[in-house]
Amino acid sequence: MTGTATPDVDAGTGMPSPDQDVVALLMAQHGEIRNLFDEVEQSEGDQRRDAFRGLVRMLAVHETAEEEVVHPYARRSVEGGAQIVDERLEEERKAKELLARLDGMDPADERFMPLLQELRTAVTEHARAEERYEFAQLRRIHDQGALATMAQAVKAAEATAPTHPHPGVESGAENVALGPIAAIADRARDAIRKATGKGR
């Protein structure tokens, strides 16, 4: 990660707080995505299937939030923002293609794990590129209010599709009812628009 500015920090920890700083929040999600890949790789059978559903939810929500909230802001506010964002969108498009192919596949299929590795590489490289070329620029703008507002919107999206639903809080049936990637993304988009006061 690079950057020269010192962001506003949480008084308790001295760290940029994920509640107040969209960059800290998205970086936390990048770490969580990597952890979820580990979970899928290290599990078998039904557990792998569940872990993969968790990963799909996280990726769908995360990418939707970036597309709806962070990329438009970067495009408007950062010098050269349009090009930076176009490059990120191209990376996202490639990752989404891979995700869509995986989503229609049984995790027990022998093609599943090699394709998952391709997805992991694409997602990891995309995440680092965002951190280095887009997020670093966002912090240089020094608009703490904007970072906080965006954090709220991303959190609203995150709440629509928990990656690890608590047993009892959300039944298995409701879990399945979260549905395909497009439906998860739609729900996340609705939540963001509600949080930012923009209608559909």
Binding site: M1, T6, V9, M15, H30, F37, D38, R120, T124, R139
Partner: protein, 399 residues
């Protein structure tokens, strides 16, 4: 019979230059590599950086143009070796991730050297230092989880435990007390010379890495922690470089450097699990054999000495990356409360130590302690990975 580098021919120097295409190595996989492959890469990068810097210093003391040209030629290939080695690290890794790997190197490399070192005074120096690197690993691991929300076990993979060692705040000693006595070049076991060079080079690279990458962080606690630990790396370089006999001639030092490179490439070639990386260790060994031959010729021409007078008859037992968990736990139980006084070690905090503590810490909580407090505030616990049971010192168990 072991491997004697003096009896093997290498690749002729004029055939050692590689094109940019050949140097464009495929990096290792950050998420699935053998952690000790990454440790070997980081170690050899440190060794090659030292080779380059040492050769530059030597060249600055040479007035003979032909000799300077020969040194430049060897040095250029060392620079290519450094590129090929360090570019094995993947671009997707963050600085902090690589930092944790650097500390894993410092822990398991220094622990192995401490276990194998024949000289008791030198062994003590490694035992003393390794407990500090061990603590740095724990501090950075807590920072890593706070910033990247990943656990350090995803990097060190259960091979190295993560828990407190000698507390980092107590590493801030008066610079005077970091200078050790050197081995005697005429009496020292040849293995001792290799150990000292290896650990000195590894710590020097760590110092350089932290001093340059620390300010790329935005988070204030990260910037502060790199500064604090970066200064301790300065202490460590002082500590280890003073173990080397300053009475060695430039040519003797050059021979020792080249011989050590042969030793390490040979060691790592023997144990490497990644075939692509192993091929690089093998190629570089064959280059180093030629560098060694040239250095030996210089020793004969300039000092009128035979390399056999200063080198072992064959390479020592291969230097190995392996877990040192039990060894480290015993050390923590026995030697945690040591500090240095003059060139020796004491258990009680003396006046000069206290003065330095006051000057640097000023009675405040240092970044290395703050990082643990912040982690606890943020996640309700510390990050530790104690695979072999509770911490050996009861007072240092997690509260």
């Amino acid at each position: 019979m072991g491997f004697n580098p003096l009896e093997h021919g290498g690749i002729p120097l004029e055939r050692q230059i590689r094109s940019w295409r050949e140097l464009n190595v495929a990096p290792i996989d950050a998420d699935h590599c053998d952690p000790y492959t990454r440790c070997r890469i980081i170690t050899m990068n440190g060794i090659e950086v030292e080779a380059i810097l040492f050769n530059h210093h030597l060249a600055r003391h040479c007035s003979d143009l032909d000799l300077k040209r020969q040194l430049a030629q060897v040095r250029y290939t060392e620079a290519q070796q450094q590129k090929a080695v360090n570019w094995l690290l993947p671009g997707v890794s963050s600085v902090l991730e690589t930092t944790i790997a650097y500390e894993q190197v410092a822990v398991d490399l220094t622990a192995w050297v401490a276990r194998m070192e024949p000289d008791p005074y030198l062994a003590q120096a490694y035992r003393f230092g390794v407990l500090e690197d061990f603590d740095h690993l724990y501090r950075y691991a807590n920072l890593f989880e706070m910033i990247e929300h990943r656990k350090a076990e995803s990097i060190v993979d259960g091979l190295t435990e993560v828990m407190p060692g000698r507390p980092t705040t107590r590493h801030h000693r008066h610079p005077v007390d970091n200078v050790r006595e050197s081995y005697d070049r005429r009496a020292a076991n040849p293995l001792s010379k290799l150990h000292a060079l290896t650990i000195m080079a590894a710590e020097q690279q760590t110092m350089n890495f932290y001093m340059n990458t620390g300010p790329t962080y935005v988070e204030p606690i990260a910037r502060q922690l790199y500064q604090e630990i970066g200064l301790i790396e300065e202490e460590h370089v002082t500590h280890y470089e003073s173990l080397v006999d300053p009475g060695e001639s430039w040519w003797e030092m050059l021979v020792n450097h080249e011989y050590n490179e042969c030793y390490l490439y040979h060691s790592f070639m023997e144990q490497e699990s990644d075939p692509k990386v192993k091929a690089i260790w093998e190629l570089h060994l064959n280059m180093e054999l030629e560098h060694l031959r040239l250095a030996c010729d210089l020793l004969r021409a300039k000092d009128g000495r035979e390399p056999q007078e200063i080198l072992a008859p064959e390479l020592p037992n291969v230097l190995t990356f392996e877990p040192n968990k039990t060894y480290l736990r015993d050390l923590i139980a026995d030697e945690l409360d040591l500090t240095t006084l003059g060139t020796g070690y004491v258990r009680e905090a003396h006046e000069r130590f206290q003065q330095m503590q006051e000057a640097f810490l000023g009675g405040e909580s240092a970044p290395s302690d703050q990082v643990i407090d912040m982690h606890r505030d943020m996640l309700g616990r510390e990050y530790r990975m104690e695979t072999e049971g509770p911490h050996p010192v009861a007072a240092m168990r997690e509260r």
